[in-house]
């Protein structure tokens, strides 16, 4: 089998995941897109493992580890999402702007405050 097929498929799948992460609004859908990106990496690992005929099968072992870490990641991520939903009543990443600048004057205040502290 040509190596180009799995490599190109993995690249395209990764870019689909990038689009999902950037364009989606619901946090759970963003997590789903992250899963797509992780799976693209898994496909690359398996294909290159089969190509290089690694003696210790580093690609396949790393794929298994990636799958496990992804399972842990989605469990923790959903726990955090549920916590955010419980406190903020929304699962919309565009509305989670608590750390953003509230007004236009915020950069000036942030710029002047450290000087006062230093003086």
């Amino acid at each position: 089998m040509h190596l180009v097929y799995p490599a190109v498929l993995a690249a395209l799948l990764f870019c689909v995941g990038v689009y999902g992460v950037l364009a989606r609004r619901n946090v759970v859908l963003v997590l789903m897109s992250v899963e797509l990106m992780l799976n693209a990496v898994n496909l690359n690992l398996v294909a290159f493992d089969a190509w290089l005929r690694d003696a210790v099968h580093a690609g396949q072992a790393l794929t298994l580890f990636t799958v496990t870490v992804a399972a842990a990641e989605i469990g923790l991520g959903l726990a955090i999402v549920l916590l955010v939903f419980r406190t903020r009543r929304t699962a919309d990443v565009d509305r989670l702007t608590l750390l953003g600048d509230p007004s236009e004057a915020a950069p000036e205040a942030a710029a002047t405050e450290p000087e006062g502290r230093a003086a």
């Binding site: 799948l13 950037l22 364009a23 580890f65 919309d92």
Partner: protein
């Protein structure tokens, strides 16, 4: 590098043509198209639950791709973990955050076109680079490279320490998820009044061991 390529037998541009694909390549291409289409629908559909179900199609197709690349064990791990647990967790998350069942018009944020631009630029760059780099590379697929027996051998012969570290990581993730999802109403609920309440001895009434300090080392042993 030349020894590596000679060992893998991957540089045979004359014998390997893209115009005469093997059966595995044809199946790989068809399943790959299905995977790609399902992934695109999954990130663009307006119905949130449908997105999770299209993700099932994409991940199941990827399991078939793993099978075609002779990684059988990873294919079944993919089916068990992704299709069995991750998608169910995602569906749980969608339901618990009260995702609308029908068509939701605000599923995509306002920067959709910027995201599309970034994704297309990344896809163009990556595909050009990958196709140019691996145009003549050939995978010699032999059966048995990813069977359960081979997987157990390399996993427990060469990768034992990462494996154990990963189990600790899973335990930490489990504890973290429990701590995060516990009710944060302040303090723990009071233990119900029962036999294990503090200040009341559990065993026989009037056990003298705690009140007689001189025979303290031997008295509890005799009590039992």
């Amino acid at each position: 590098m030349s020894t590596l390529l000679a060992a893998t037998g991957s540089l045979e541009p004359a014998a390997r043509s893209f115009l005469s694909p093997t059966g595995a390549e044809v199946v790989f291409l068809l399943v790959g198209l299905a995977v790609l289409g399902a992934a695109v629908v999954s990130v663009t559909t307006k119905q949130l639950v449908h997105a999770a179900l299209w993700l099932v199609v994409a991940l199941g197709g990827l399991a078939v791709e793993f099978l075609l690349l002779t990684a059988e064990f990873i294919a079944w791990v993919q089916v068990l973990i992704y299709l069995g647990s991750v998608v169910v967790l995602v569906l749980f998350g969608l339901m618990l955050t009260r995702a609308p069942i029908g068509r939701s018009p605000d599923a995509d944020s306002g920067n959709r076109w910027a995201a599309l631009l970034v994704a297309l630029a990344a896809a163009g760059t990556l595909v050009t680079l990958v196709a140019d780099a691996f145009r003549t590379s050939w995978i010699d697929l032999t059966a048995g490279g990813g069977s359960t027996r081979a997987t157990g051998e390399y996993l427990f012969r060469h990768w034992v320490l990462p494996f154990e570290a990963l189990s600790v990581l899973l335990l930490a993730a489990l504890v973290g998820a429990i701590v995060l999802s516990r009710s944060t109403s302040g303090r723990l609920p009071r233990p119900r009044a029962g036999k294990l309440r503090a200040g009341k001895p559990v065993g026989r009434p009037a056990a003298p061991a705690a009140t007689v300090p001189s025979t303290a080392p031997t008295a509890p042993a005799q009590e039992r």
